[in-house]
């Protein structure tokens, strides 16, 4: 105890280096956010009536976060933790202050220098926003106390009891979701015939009313008191179920609940959400296919969009009356069979020459092939056949006897996509545990050894390519029927990259992970051309994707819902340590003892 006491810091000793470091980062982040244009662009989006807009919120969360970060202490096992005290609050406040000083400097800069040429947002609009349409001194007088205050609040989060901290977190995140998801909640409440609820929460001109904000905050803060770990307990009980037959039963129950929900829910959802779910489904289908190629077989394919395009164009040519060259106007079902054949051929055609390459080389070559396919669709050479940049329009709806699947009715598209996704999930799941799936795993681990162990790597890899291609082409076919037209610019390289991000963020090789990944990324942020829940961020989508990807790589490289295998792979040391602490080693010793 004596020794640890010595290392405790004195009550008012500030770690200046740390404050300066995080304070500067705080200032830089705020200036960066301003110059990227988030506040100006999102200022019109009101969150709380006449109080807060989304634009301001983007500046305000920064000092809160860095106030929290700067006063965080590393806790070590077995050593007494230093007590949080006034010094930490002061650190938070100073960090917030530095952040605000950054904003003040930015205001001075905009006022005195003209830098609009490289920085489009270095403009009077931002200036007016930062000074609240007043003078610089007024702006500074507002921002400095606000920064200091938020920094202190951020720092004080560590010193609250966990109960209060939980309540604050619930209130903050809850309010944020309510405010940002205004459209969707409106849409939802319409579907459930609860319009009065959304009318009560939201003001007519957009944004929540002040009263509803306060009431909601209190309700949300009380929520954890009601729930109080019940959820966690259920999950724990579910996980700890010892008997395999109980586990099996639980899985069946859980699966049926999810299945019923997915089937019934669209009837209660409005247009916006159904449209969104249909998009999520389309990208999930793509991601499941890519998951087989990248996640299972370890082939980094950056030209995956090519197969998506093949599916879309094949459907367009076969079903649309506007197809310029060959227009049999077949039924979607028949065209689907041709799509499978075409995708298989495309998979073999692109796969065969590149399959001998490994790792980075494969990535670059497939990237090239993806672009080649898009440029072919765009080219003048194929224009008489495929329509060039005008694409093929007027693709008819899918006629399914009593039902019709068309873009104007997102619910029908959703069910159609759902059917394909179920198929894709079944295929991934069955193949994973089969002879072919094992050979993919082996190739992913060590290609040359896999070959020496008797695996025909060329065939196995081609098989992965083809299965992935067919799944992607299904997605393309449904997209063509949904949108009613195909254009080369719908098949940009960005699609490949976003699908890859979905797979990586979700968890490579994990089917659940890929589902969660597409829900989170495509559902919330939106696809390359499709809006997500947060439509406001449309222009900043790629920025957020990038930031998310960096964050995931640093903090959780195995993805949101990883497979056990992948977690082990990335955390080998921890696994070994656990194994060593367990019964593992002792048994080896016993064996040696017996022999001695």
């Amino acid at each position: 105890m004596m020794t640890t006491n010595l290392t405790l810091k004195k009550p008012f000793e500030l770690n200046w280096k740390r404050i300066l470091f995080w304070g500067s980062i705080c200032a830089l982040s705020q200036v960066f956010i301003c110059l990227v244009g988030l506040p100006s662009e999102l200022n019109r989006r009101i969150l709380i009536e006449s109080t807060l807009s989304l634009g301001y919120l983007f500046i305000l969360w920064v000092p809160l976060l860095f106030g929290y970060v700067v006063s965080k202490i590393v806790k070590l096992e077995g050593i007494e933790n230093p007590k949080q005290g006034a010094a930490d609050l002061l650190s938070g406040a100073l960090t917030g202050l530095l952040g605000s000083l950054g904003l003040v400097l930015l205001m001075l800069g905009i006022d005195n220098l003209d830098m609009r040429d490289p920085l489009i947002n270095w403009n009077p609009k931002l200036f007016r926003l930062l000074t609240f349409e007043n003078s610089i001194s007024f702006g500074s007088l507002v921002w400095i106390p606000v920064g200091v205050g938020l920094g202190t609040v951020g720092a004080s989060l560590h010193q609250m009891s966990s109960q209060i901290r939980k309540m604050t977190a619930y209130a903050m995140f809850g309010l944020f979701s309510f405010a940002v998801l205004e459209d969707v909640i409106g849409d939802l409440s319409e579907g459930f015939r609860l319009e009065w609820l959304s009318d009560m929460i939201y003001a007519k001109k957009g944004g929540m009313t002040v009263t509803s904000t306060i009431v909601l905050a209190i309700v949300l803060a009380l929520l954890p008191l009601l729930v109080q770990g019940k959820f966690k307990k259920t999950v724990d009980r579910y996980r700890s179920e010892a008997k395999p037959e109980d586990k099996r039963r639980n899985s069946v129950v859980l699966f049926s609940i999810v299945a019923v929900l997915v089937l019934v829910l669209p009837w209660f959802l409005g247009r916006i959400v159904n449209e969104l779910l249909a998009n999520v489904g389309l990208f999930l289908l793509l991601a499941l296919g890519l998951n087989i190629v990248v996640g299972l077989a370890g082939l980094l394919d950056l030209g995956y969009v090519a197969f998506f395009a093949v599916g879309g164009y094949t459907t367009a040519v076969l079903t649309s009356p506007n197809s310029p060259w060959f227009s049999p106007e077949t039924h979607f079902g028949i065209s689907l069979l041709v799509v499978v054949v075409m995708a298989t051929l495309a998979g073999l055609l692109i796969g065969a020459p590149v399959i001998r390459m490994r790792g980075d080389y494969l990535a670059i070559v497939t990237l090239g092939f993806g672009e080649i396919i898009r440029l072919l669709f765009l080219s003048d050479w194929l224009k008489p056949y495929l329509g060039g940049s005008q694409g093929i329009t007027n693709i008819p709806a899918i006629d399914l006897g009593p039902w019709e699947v068309r873009g104007a009715d997102p619910r029908s598209v959703f069910y159609m996509v759902l059917a394909f996704c179920v198929l894709a999930i079944y295929v991934s799941w069955r193949l994973q545990g089969s002879r072919l799936g094992r050979s993919w795993m082996a190739i992913r681990e060590d290609e040359s050894v896999a070959e020496v162990m008797g695996i025909n790597i060329v065939n196995s890899k081609l098989m992965a390519f083809v299965v992935g291609a067919v799944l992607a082409s299904f997605s393309g076919a449904v997209l063509a029927a949904k949108v009613g037209s195909v254009f080369p610019k719908s098949f940009e390289i960005l699609v490949s990259i976003i699908i890859l991000v979905v797979v990586i963020v979700g968890g490579m090789g994990s089917i659940t992970g890929v589902m969660v990944g597409s829900l989170v990324l495509i559902g919330i942020l939106g696809g390359p051309r499709q809006p997500g829940l947060l439509q406001e961020f449309q222009n900043f989508k790629l920025l957020i994707y990038g930031a998310l990807l960096v964050f995931m790589m640093l903090k959780r490289p195995e993805g949101l819902v990883p497979t056990a295998r992948r977690t082990r792979e990335l955390h080998q040391e921890e696994y070994l340590q656990d194994a060593w602490l367990g019964d593992d080693e002792s048994e080896d010793r016993e064996e040696v003892g017996e022999q001695l």
């Binding site: 069955r430 193949l431 795993m441 020496v452 162990m453 025909n456 790597i457 080998q572």
Partner: protein
Amino acid sequence: MSLLEIHNLQVTFGGLDALSNLDFSIEEGEIVSVIGPNGAGKTTFFNTISGMIPPTSGEIIFDGESVLGLDPNQITEMGIARTFQNVRLFPNMTVLENVMVSQHCRTSQLIIGALFQTKAFKQEEKEIRERSEEILGFFGTRLVGYRLDQPAFALSYANRRRLEIARAMATQPRLLLLDEPVAGMNPIETAELTGLISRLRDEWGFTIVIIEHDMKVVRDVSDRVVVLDHGVPIAQGAYDEVSTNPNVIEAYLGRPVEAKS
């Protein structure tokens, strides 16, 4: 006819002759040791037979057919399996999966069987699994039970070596190439594995070629010893003959004067 015949084999890397004028044959049911100082070309010899390195010239005939120009997986299918000197398991696959995956070339089910869970598919999966457990059971209790589902990287060093042998056995070879199977093992483990190597031939019917530095193991298991030095075979014959051959002693120890002392 010999199981494996090698005629005038030569492997050149740049200007360096890793193997030259190698000429010998292996009879069915033999255990042959290949020894030689470091850099003598022993592992290159294995790599050439297993198809990982194409020879510069010469001929390798396995069971009457030339293996030159075949891919490693085709050679494995013909019945040659190997282990690696620096253990090269599939570290993130489980012990069982490591062995199951090596039966790839002896099995045939593809996509359709897996999707429709056909009778043939299920039957084959069952056979693969049973066979894997049988092979792993050959090494006593070490690789079975809860270890079946452990990742290969979590195994102890000796167990990894055992698993490598199990994986090679699972390809159902006729010729088994073992590259320093006891390297890094303690004396007890070495003694045990020495016994296993003989059993591999007697019970499983494999013909075995083994690269080994541990002379005790070489003496105990081999019917015949081949000594390589600088890519050239300098002696072959029974262990006692070879171990007293002055050329061999010179290759290992430099000068005969020192060897006598």
